[in-house]
């Protein structure tokens, strides 16, 4: 199949790519842009390991075609770190055991980033509901809840300090 020129915005950078228009966003990220943080965990768009933000909204890059995302701002896990160091949620997931094997973690990072961007005081039920599209097989999710709460606290402290 003939390739087409597609312009993608990923993590604030613009890439001009020659790709088949039938190529999955996940495959383009992993194979063409070497952004291997987004993972392929299933083949039926149900596990959430490939979650990215499209215009700030969590979506599955295994159910999106790359060419279809032209003109949209894509954020992958590689774009989550802030100012060259770990974002609060990344640090907290490490400290609280939110990540064990880590394969689902990039997807969770995107989901949690979106959750705390829109809700700085999520209840336990909010958190459980928000995470329910990402499967994890190691943690039983429990330590993630602590990580998320601690990340929110850390961000709040940081804002406090800045003010």
């Amino acid at each position: 199949m003939k390739k087409e020129l597609v312009e993608l915005r990923v993590n604030g950078r613009t890439y001009e790519l020659a790709i088949e228009s039938s190529k999955l966003l996940l495959d383009v990220l992993r194979q063409d842009l070497d952004l291997t943080g987004s993972k392929r965990g299933c083949d039926e768009s149900s596990c959430g390991a490939c979650t990215v933000l499209v215009d700030g909204i969590p979506m599955l890059s295994c159910a999106l075609l790359a060419a279809s995302c032209e003109g949209q701002e894509i954020t992958t896990v590689e774009g989550v770190s802030e100012h060259g160091s770990l974002a609060a949620i990344q640090k907290a997931y490490g400290d609280w055991g939110g990540s064990q094997c880590g394969f689902c973690t990039p997807g969770f990072m995107m989901t949690v980033k979106h959750l705390i961007a829109g809700n700085d005081e999520p209840t336990d039920a909010d958190i459980r509901a928000a995470l329910s599209g990402n499967l994890c097989r190691c943690t039983g999710y429990e330590q993630m809840y602590q990580a998320i709460k601690s990340a929110i606290d850390a961000e709040r402290r940081e804002i406090g300090v800045a003010q």
């Binding site: 993972k39 490490g94 880590g102």
Partner: protein, 860 residues
């Protein structure tokens, strides 16, 4: 307050940032120049003879570089020396839907998939066996010619005098329990990248490097050597980050061999990554298990005897099967004091994907039966469920009737903890309607005392090298699969050497660089590799201490290694203020001399101090420099082999079950059941786990919670559903591992019995808790509703069916998929329950049989 500076502290995993930033690389994230993509052709038949395989059309497709079949690598292999029954790809027969037939290596995944469609295979279909009890009656067409009656292995153990003991029992309970098949479903699909170097002398493929998602790099190296007929020294296996294993990567999985065979034929690197469906077909999960269990007790609740007949539906190849069936019997011991045991175990072959080792290997399904039956007995005797468990505790240290040595035994405290925390005594029997509490216990080995390959070789060896700047490199064969073994190793090395974690770099699981370790399975890594690390660190510490003592003009015993400083304790007491060996001053100086934010500032104070006289303290770097100046290169080594006393009895099959130490768990589950729908909600699980000592409490709690959670999945939602040998739910959408919404709160409670032989007293933490969860939930459901569920998972239809039967409501057939419109003669399509063993022979209208139909139709 412990005496440790690093052990026992919650520490983020050393590779955590790689995981949260996406920078960490798993096998499928890797690519090398010229790499091809491999795709495997699988059998569509559960049991068939291969008449011919014609790959010529596929080979001609542009972009295809190589097509390989069984003939390209015919040597048999298998994880157990007694079970070498697998081949890279099938030679003569296929034995399950999904068995491996051929592999294409092509420039793109798309081309490789297309080429699979062009491979022509002719099969002669054979009768197939899907039910183990049916399979055991087979008279012909055995799945393996050398396994009559399709029995992979059977064992018959008698310890004590069970018959006499049953006669003497006041009460005997007897029932059949069934646990349906489950699988690991680790988030990372298996992936292997194999690359040959071109031999500089011959120009042919020479040394092989394999990157693979494996728990057992050294076994992989060994099996590759067998199949490819290459010396092990010519094969390098590297384990990148692994996205979960749970046993599913604890043996050599077909793609690992096939990738190498394809790479050799293609003379180019080949990567194969399984689709999720292929992961389910590679399987190696927990077999469907039928347990006929009989337990005798005295009126005071003490167990007189246990008799278990266990049948495991092992699938088409041996895998770990012999070990699984032995664990199921052996682990009836070591938890409680059972003086008389009879065990009859059958590992049976069927034409389905292969079962193997899965978290809680061998013990889980039998424990479900045992702990459920114990609850039934308690009810009969009008005893409290916690009390009957306390009644039957071992008197440790001891050796069980089946030869297992028990030293540290934290089960009594585990039970106390969950009883207290759940307010068992106050709340049991007093909860709202349809709500209940259940208790159960479990245990697991901290590694097998006898390795799979019989030899006297140490099970783990670790090397440590220390550089002049005080940087420590630990070379370990331990395979971190997400459980945190790299972190554990770093912690032990840092603790022994009295320095900060930031100094320690772990190089792990690379067969060229790291000394042999038999792998991450049977929960052996903390105990065995931890001990090896401890010894290696002590070895190198001794060398540093010798040099430091000379320099400080004191004896080795005077030296304390802590907080990046080596202190002469007799000297420091005089010099530092009252708080003795916790000198904050020393700590501050250490950071000036050596480290700022993990950076080494070279040549700072070291040089200046060189010419001064004997000192009260040296920075870690100074001590290291002194040692290197004194010994030359600074390195240490340590290894671990389980002691002979821990290796079990002499009976046939006694090799499986013994461990240097056992972990213990007790759990209380609180559930509620919707009486109209049968839906079970697990609200909370209190789980205490005796891990000896928690080296890293965050990790230990994570392992406990994860085990409990996985047990809950098996208890409620997870089940592999089969129809005629076809897996109906080969994906994460239909194989339902729980989401965050229905996952319970798990309160993890660490119990530390401090094992005399474990590293700093540590034992297993990752598997032992799983087995207690299923019976704890079953017992809680009984408490809630008075129904005893003897078949897992406790799906809503099974619960509702039992409930309606109890209430004597109108019987509706809730648990069997009956299609009212289907004529009975076509039942083979409706479910394996009704399948009559005709194998893949199908309904006349089925296109697979269309030719038959047309021929018959013409004759009418």
């Amino acid at each position: 307050m412990s005496d440790f500076s690093i052990i026992g502290k919650p520490i983020a995993m050393v590779d955590a940032a790689g995981k949260t930033t996406g920078a960490g690389k798993y096998t499928d994230d890797l690519s090398v120049p010229g790499m091809l993509y491999g795709k495997i052709l699988h059998s569509p038949h559960p049991h068939a003879r291969i008449i011919s395989v014609d790959t010529s059309r596929a080979a001609k497709l542009p972009g295809v570089v190589a097509v390989v079949t069984g003939k390209d690598a015919p040597n048999p292999y298998g994880i157990l020396p007694v079970g070498h029954d697998e081949r890279a790809m099938a030679l003569d027969k296929v034995r399950y839907v999904g068995d491996n037939v051929a592999c294409v290596a092509a420039e793109t995944e798309f081309i490789a998939e297309q080429a699979l469609e062009l491979i022509d295979v002719k099969y002669e279909v054979l009768p197939a066996y899907f039910d183990p009890e049916e399979s055991m009656k087979a008279q012909s067409d055995f799945i393996h010619d050398n396994k009559p009656q399709n029995i992979e292995k059977d064992y018959h153990h008698v310890f004590g005098d069970p018959d006499k003991a049953f006669n003497e029992a006041d009460y005997v309970a007897e029932a059949r329990f069934i646990a349906q098949e489950v699988t690991h479903a680790a988030m990372e699909p298996h992936s292997t990248l194999a690359s040959f170097e071109i031999d500089s002398q011959t120009g042919k493929p020479g040394r092989l490097t394999v990157w693979s998602s494996t728990q057992v790099p050294y076994y992989l190296q060994h099996k590759l050597s067998l199949v490819l007929e290459m010396p092990m020294s010519q094969i390098r296996v590297i384990k990148p980050l692994v996205g979960g294993g749970f046993g599913g990567k604890s043996e050599v999985i077909p793609l690992e061999i096939i990738a190498a065979v394809a790479a050799r034929a293609a003379q180019k690197p080949v990567k194969i990554t399984y689709t999720r469906e292929e992961v389910f077909l590679a399987h190696r999960g927990r077999p469907r298990t039928i347990v006929d269990l009989k337990t005798g007790v005295k009126n005071d609740g003490s167990i007189t005897a246990v008799k278990a007949r266990v049948i495991q539906d092992g699938g088409a190849y041996c895998s770990y099967g012999v070990v699984t069936i032995l664990y199921s019997g052996a682990l009836l011991g070591a938890l409680y004091d059972i003086p008389n045991i009879q065990y009859d175990g059958y590992r049976v072959l069927t034409n389905k994907p292969v079962c193997g080792a899965m978290r809680g290997h061998g013990t889980v399904n039998v424990r479900f039966a045992f702990e459920s039956q114990l609850d039934e007995i308690a009810l009969q005797l009008k005893m409290d469920s916690a009390a009957i468990r306390r009644r039957n505790l071992l008197k440790a240290p001891c050796i069980t009737v089946n030869g297992l040595r028990v030293q540290s035994y934290g089960l009594p405290e585990c039970i106390d903890q969950v009883v207290t925390r759940s307010q068992w005594n106050e709340r049991k029997g007093k909860l709202a309607k349809s709500r209940g509490l259940g208790i159960a216990c479990s245990h697991y080995v901290s590694g097998a005392a006898n390795s799979i390959i019989r030899s006297d070789m140490p099970h783990s060896t670790v090397n440590i090298k220390i550089d002049r700047d005080g940087g420590i490199v630990v070379y370990t064969g331990a395979s971190d699969i997400g459980q945190g073994s790299d972190t554990m190793v770093a912690q032990i090395a840092a603790e022994v050497l009295g320095c900060s974690m930031a100094r320690v770099k772990v190089i792990a699981a690379d067969t060229d660089l790291t000394p042999i370790d038999i792998g991450s399975y049977s929960s052996r890594v903390t105990f065995m590799n931890g001990n090896a690390t401890l010894r290696a660190a002590q070895d190198v510490k001794k060398q540093i201490a010798t040099a430091a003592a000379r320099k400080m003009d004191c004896t080795l015993d005077d030296l304390i290694f802590r907080d990046d400083v080596v202190v002469n304790k007799s000297a420091t007491v005089a010099k530092t203020p009252a708080n003795g060996n916790q000198p904050t001053v020393v700590h501050a100086e250490a950071s000036v001399s050596g480290r700022v934010e993990g950076q080494i500032l070279r040549g700072s104070l070291q040089q200046k101090r060189k010419d001064e006289g004997p000192k009260a303290k040296l920075s870690f770097e100074e001590a290291v420099v002194a040692a290197i100046d004194f010994h030359g290169a600074l390195s240490g080594t340590g290894s671990y082999a389980p002691p002979p006393e821990a290796r079990g009895g002499k009976h046939k099959g006694a090799g499986v079950g013994p461990s240097p130490a056992y972990s213990y768990s007790a759990q209380v589950a609180e559930v509620s059941v919707d009486e109209e729908t049968g839906e079970v909600t697990v609200h909370k699980v209190w789980a205490s786990h005796d891990c000896g000592r928690a080296l890293n409490p965050t990790s230990v709690e994570g392992q406990i919670i994860g085990s409990v959670w996985m047990g809950m999945g098996q208890a409620l939602t997870e089940e592999m559903v089969w129809k005629d040998g076809l897996l109906m739910n080969p994906g994460l959408l239909e194989y339902r591992s729980p989401s965050s919404v229905e996952s319970p709160v798990v309160e993890a409670i660490i119990v530390e019995s401090v094992d005399p032989e474990g590293p700093f007293g540590a034992k297993e933490a990752s598997e032992g808790s799983l087995a207690a969860t299923i019976p704890a939930i079953a017992n809680a459901i009984y408490d809630a509703l008075g129904i005893r569920l003897r078949e897992s998972p406790f799906t809503p239809e099974r619960v509702l069916s039992a409930l309606r039967a109890k209430k004597k409501q109108k019987h509706i057939n809730l648990t069997e998929g009956v299609d009212p419109t289907a004529p009975t003669t076509f039942r083979e399509h409706g479910g394996s329950l009704c399948f009559k063993g005709k194998g893949p022979e199908r309904h006349a209208l089925d296109p697979a049989r269309r030719e038959f139909h047309v021929a018959k139709g013409g004759a009418d």
